[in-house]
């Protein structure tokens, strides 16, 4: 060890040696005890650094000032090295990694609720051989009504608040309308397929002249149409039960009640057992049942209009609202259904 300090240069060089020596030993230290010993060895009362500090008295006043700065720096460096090595030892031999840091997300996109509903509905029916199709939204009166056994002046037309297009009527097909229901696709599908079997799933936009919290002038329906030899009411019930179990849940059932549609005979109103009270009756349902929509056995006149022989083939059809059906499943209570067609991001981003 040096005996005396002649000048600042000498002092500096000695200090740096001490610092490097200390840092090397600190990094090599394998446990907390070793670090404590090193701390005493350098910074203790008789430590190497402390001893050196005592020697600056031999220096000139200006050199003393310079030396003081250096001492502080070396001392801090050693303290930092001791602390860092202590943390390193705590984390044993691993590299430091903070897994708790919040991630950086990509922008999250959203599919519309109706898209999600349509996907679920189509995949449920496609599994039992239904073929998804799409037919005109702007349609001739003949396909929307006349071919479905609903003549021009029939009061049943009041059930469809129909929008008409301002164009001259077609000599054969009549006025141009916005399809008020997916049933407009029935005769078109019969004409496309020509020879049964038919298992159609028509999902489309529909339009009706009404707008309030439970009606939007534009909405979606899905229509099932099955035509083949020997199709009976039992098959309609089977299909609806299949849908209820697979779409709504395995303990759900459907029920048919009498109704009337011009294009089906017999016609039914379809109920589904309430998912909340399990069919026992509650505030949300009517004695354990909720109304799903209409269905029926295809009227022979409709088959004839679709050029299908009603003596050979029979069929059934059902057509329900996509929005209503999906909300019944998801238990969503959207107070104003028109919100579905609003572009408000605060709404769209929820799904």
């Amino acid at each position: 060890m040096q005996k005396g300090i002649e000048n600042i240069n000498k002092f500096t060089s000695i200090m740096l040696d001490v610092k490097n020596e200390a840092l090397a030993q600190i990094v090599d230290a394998g446990n907390i005890n070793e670090l404590e010993e090193l701390k005493i060895a350098y910074l203790g009362r008789n430590g190497k650094l402390t001893t050196l500090i005592k020697k600056i008295k031999d220096l000139s006043i200006s050199e003393k000032k310079q030396a003081g700065g250096l001492i502080n720096e070396v001392k801090n460096t050693i303290l930092d090295a001791l602390a860092t090595q202590k943390n390193t030892l705590k984390e044993s031999a691993r590299d430091w990694f903070d897994a708790s840091i919040p991630g950086k997300k990509p922008t999250i996109g959203h599919l519309h609720l109706i898209t999600q509903a349509i996907r679920e509905i189509s995949s449920t029916f496609e599994k039992i051989g239904f073929v998804r199709v799409r037919y005109p939204e702007v349609e001739w009166d003949w396909y929307a009504f006349e071919s479905l056994n609903i003549p021009r002046d029939h009061p049943a037309r009041d059930d469809w608040e129909t929008f008409f297009i301002d164009t001259p009527p077609h000599s054969k097909y009549g006025l141009m309308v916005l399809t008020p229901h997916t049933s407009s696709g029935q005769v078109r599908e019969m004409m496309r397929v020509k020879k049964p079997p038919i298992r159609m799933l028509n999902i489309a936009k529909n339009y009706r002249r009404q707008s309030d919290v439970s009606h939007v002038p534009m909405f979606h329906q899905f229509e099932g149409l099955v035509i083949d030899e020997g199709i009976s009411v039992a098959h309609l019930k089977g299909t609806l039960d299949y849908f209820a179990r697979n779409f709504f849940g395995k303990d759900r059932k459907t029920r048919l009640r009498p109704h009337h549609f011009q294009f089906t005979e017999p016609s039914f109103e379809v109920d589904i057992s309430c998912g909340v009270c399990k069919g026992n009756g509650c505030k949300l349902c009517k004695e354990g049942w909720l109304e799903l929509g209409g269905a029926g056995m295809v009227h022979p006149n409709v088959l004839k209009n679709g050029k299908i022989d009603p003596n050979k083939y029979t069929g059934f059809a059902f057509g329900w609202g996509v929005e209503r059906t999906f909300m019944m499943k998801a238990g969503l209570e959207i107070g104003d259904i028109r919100l579905l067609y609003s572009p408000d991001l605060k709404f769209l981003r929820q799904f």
Binding site: P106, T107, I108, G109, L111, H112, I114, R119, S122, G129, V131, R132, V133, R134, P136, E137, V138, E139, D153, H154, P155, A156, F163, F164, I165, D166, H170, M176, L178, P197, I198, R199, K205, Y207, R209, S211, P217, M218, E229, S232, V233, A234, H235, K237, G238, T239, L256, R257, P258, H260, E265, P266, S267, F268, T314, P343, D344, L345, L348, R349
Partner: protein
């Protein structure tokens, strides 16, 4: 239509042990749907939905008849107590007190009777209470009788002040266009023509038949003699008239559904009884009854096999007969063949074997029918179905942060091109045309989200309706989207990525377009056919759209396989200093096509006028060495200098 049925009133004609709840439930399962039961004062009120084919149940008596048939199927005792009348009048085609001529196409049955010396006063309390229970306001005994009968049996009844019918004469005919008539609510109608009207002996129109009486023949406080008037009209004429005149009365709603002609006789007799009882009037001994074609029961033939096949169950002949008889049909079996006679009150509903089937099935109970999925062949899939393609695009765009919207297809006139389809009866001006583009809808959607400061991307797949002469419009499926607060390169990058994922080989060609800012629009072309566009709108949002049909055509459903290169690529960055206003797209395209071993180029960073590109050099048969790369690089650099005045920067 919805009707209200009072339980007290119903019990005049229905004897049953059923509780109101059981009655409602049974009716709903096998007949008309009871929407709710309401408690009245000392009464229960059933709210019942009557479908258009079952106007025979649009009254207390009709519901009693239906309930009497249905309740026993639910093991509840029930019996119809028939409506009996006391009046002993005879019916004749001619009477002394009224000379009538009718058009039998417009009026299927015409009955009337003169009742003299009526006393107008309030009705007794039980009549008033019942009328109020079913939603009718009591006025005086004459008006109340009409309403009472209508609610009881579902047959509208009208009364004239007999002394106001000039010449005691009536001609029932179709109106001529432009004729005028003032109804008793004080409204004067200019008739569209083809309406059923009644003219008196002086040629005055005194009745808008089936809809509302004329003011000039109405009963008033000084009326002494009343003509009680019950008819069956042609439903089509009634419907046209009330729709044209927007005069939808309760009577019209019944008549338009086609009423039972046999009900006219019951209506007039019930009317006479009530007039005698409530007004003290003296009816004439003969009722005028013009009934050119009395009802003859329709015969419908079915077979046992038909029932079994359509319902998927076994049924006995006696069971089928029992159900039909309960509902008023006469039946006779001949082997497996069933002949059914349709009662008059079902004449407008039952025509076919299918209709008979419905009657049997609902009494058997739809809820009792079996349930099984159909067997048999599965149909062929739709050729070229677009659904998976659309779904794929929706998944990709939402995966990159897009938010899907559904906006309305109907838009204001300012949003469409000329010739667009116009609605005849829109709900308002804002929704009076079928859209020809999605752009106005998406711009509107964007404006409705102006509070949003973060970048966002809205997209939609929906039809545009392009008009065609004498044809349905061309419904073109469009993909469109709009970006707000978004950097142009980022927005364009999403579109490029989409096209890459769809394996669509396209070119972006810069070309100005309406509503887009100058120089900020590109047409997206494939083999010189425009399939879409992308550009910055005047309000600085970025809009794009594609004709989905065309896009699908040029997209490859399956990515083609290319052999994996055996030799690695040399990758290097090249920074170019370019003169201002150089189109970087052209520079990149130039580099990419400069040499066949330059397989990929990407723009990495831009700093002021320095543009750093990343270049991939690759040879299919060997590893390129530095010398090879240098040759290619030199060619690129000198080409860039010559064509764009570009300098390289180290």
């Amino acid at each position: 239509m919805d009707i209200i049925v009072s339980d007290n009133w119903l019990k005049d004609y229905l004897k049953t042990t059923a509780s109101p709840k059981a009655l409602a439930r049974s009716l709903s399962l096998s007949g008309p749907s009871v929407d709710k039961i309401e408690r009245g004062s000392g009464d229960f009120l059933y709210h019942i939905e009557i479908t258009t084919n079952r106007v025979d149940t649009a009254g207390i008596y009709g519901i009693a008849r239906e309930a009497a048939a249905i309740l026993p199927r639910f093991k509840i005792q029930a019996k119809l107590l028939p409506l009996r009348t006391k009046s002993k009048q005879s019916f004749a085609r001619k009477v002394k007190y009224l000379d009538v001529k009718i058009d039998p196409k417009l009026c299927l049955r015409f009955a009337a009777v003169l009742i003299k010396n009526v006393k107008i006063k309030p009705s007794p309390d039980y009549i008033k209470e019942r009328l109020m229970a079913v939603g009718e306001r009591p006025i005086n005994n004459i008006v109340d009788i009409s309403n009472y009968i209508m609610h009881e049996i579902g047959q509208p009844v009208h009364t004239f002040d007999y002394d106001k019918i000039r010449g005691s004469k009536m001609i029932l005919r179709a109106s001529k266009k432009g004729e005028k008539l003032t109804t008793l609510d004080g409204k004067t109608h200019q008739l569209p023509g083809g309406d059923i009207v009644i003219e008196d002996g002086e040629g005055r129109l005194i009745d808008l038949a089936g809809i509302m009486g004329g003011q000039n023949s109405a009963v008033d406080s000084s009326t002494k003699n009343v003509l009680l008037f019950v008819q069956t009209y042609n439903p089509v004429n009634i419907r046209k008239t009330y729709m044209n005149l927007a005069q939808r009365t309760e009577a019209a709603v019944l008549f338009e559904k086609g009423l039972d002609t046999e009900l006219v006789g019951l209506g007039i007799k019930r009317g006479i009884d009530l007039f005698v009882k409530l007004t003290g009037g003296k009816p004439e001994n003969t009722v005028l009854d013009i009934y050119p074609k009395p009802y003859k029961a329709r015969r419908v033939i079915t077979t046992l096999t038909f029932f079994e096949k359509r319902l998927g169950i076994k049924l006995s002949k006696s069971e089928i007969s029992k159900y039909l008889n309960l509902l008023g049909f006469e039946t006779s079996w001949n082997g497996k063949k069933l002949e059914t006679l349709v009662p008059s009150f079902r004449a407008n509903d039952i025509f076919l074997a299918e209709d008979i089937l419905e009657e049997v099935a609902r009494l058997y109970g739809y809820h009792n029918l079996p349930s099984s999925l159909m067997t048999g062949a599965i149909p062929d899939p739709l050729v070229d179905a677009p659904f998976d393609f659309e779904d794929n695009i929706k998944n990709l765009l939402s995966g990159w942060g897009g938010v899907e919207a559904y906006t309305l297809s109907t838009v204001p006139e300012s949003s469409v091109e000329t010739g667009a389809l116009k609605l005849k009866n829109p709900l308002g001006k804002e929704s009076s045309f079928m859209r020809t583009s999605l752009m106005p809808s998406l711009i509107k959607a964007l404006k409705e989200n102006t509070g949003e400061k973060e970048p966002f991307h809205l997209f939609e797949i929906a039809n545009a309706y392009l008009p065609r002469k004498n044809m349905l419009p061309d419904e073109k499926m469009i993909l469109a989207g709009i970006f707000a607060n978004t950097n142009y390169r980022e927005a364009k990058g999403i579109i490029e990525a989409l096209l890459e994922k769809l394996n669509a080989d396209v070119k972006f060609v810069v070309e100005d377009g309406k509503v887009f800012s100058a120089s900020k629009r590109s047409i997206i072309k494939s083999n010189n056919v425009k399939i879409g566009q992308l550009g910055v709108l005047e309000e600085s949002s970025i809009y794009y759209e594609f004709d989905l049909g065309l896009l699908k055509k040029i997209s490859l459903a399956i990515t083609p396989y290319t052999t994996i290169p055996k030799y690695p690529a040399q990758i290097e960055d090249m920074t170019l200093v370019l003169p201002s206003k150089t189109r970087i797209g052209e520079v990149a395209a130039f580099i990419e096509s400069a040499h066949k071993n330059l397989v990929k180029v990407e723009l990495v960073t831009i700093y002021k006028d320095s543009h750093t590109f990343r270049l991939w050099y690759q040879h299919p048969e060997k590893t390129l060495n530095n010398k090879d790369v240098e040759i290619i690089r030199n060619k690129v650099v000198s080409g860039l200098r010559e064509k764009f005045g570009a300098r390289t920067k180290d």
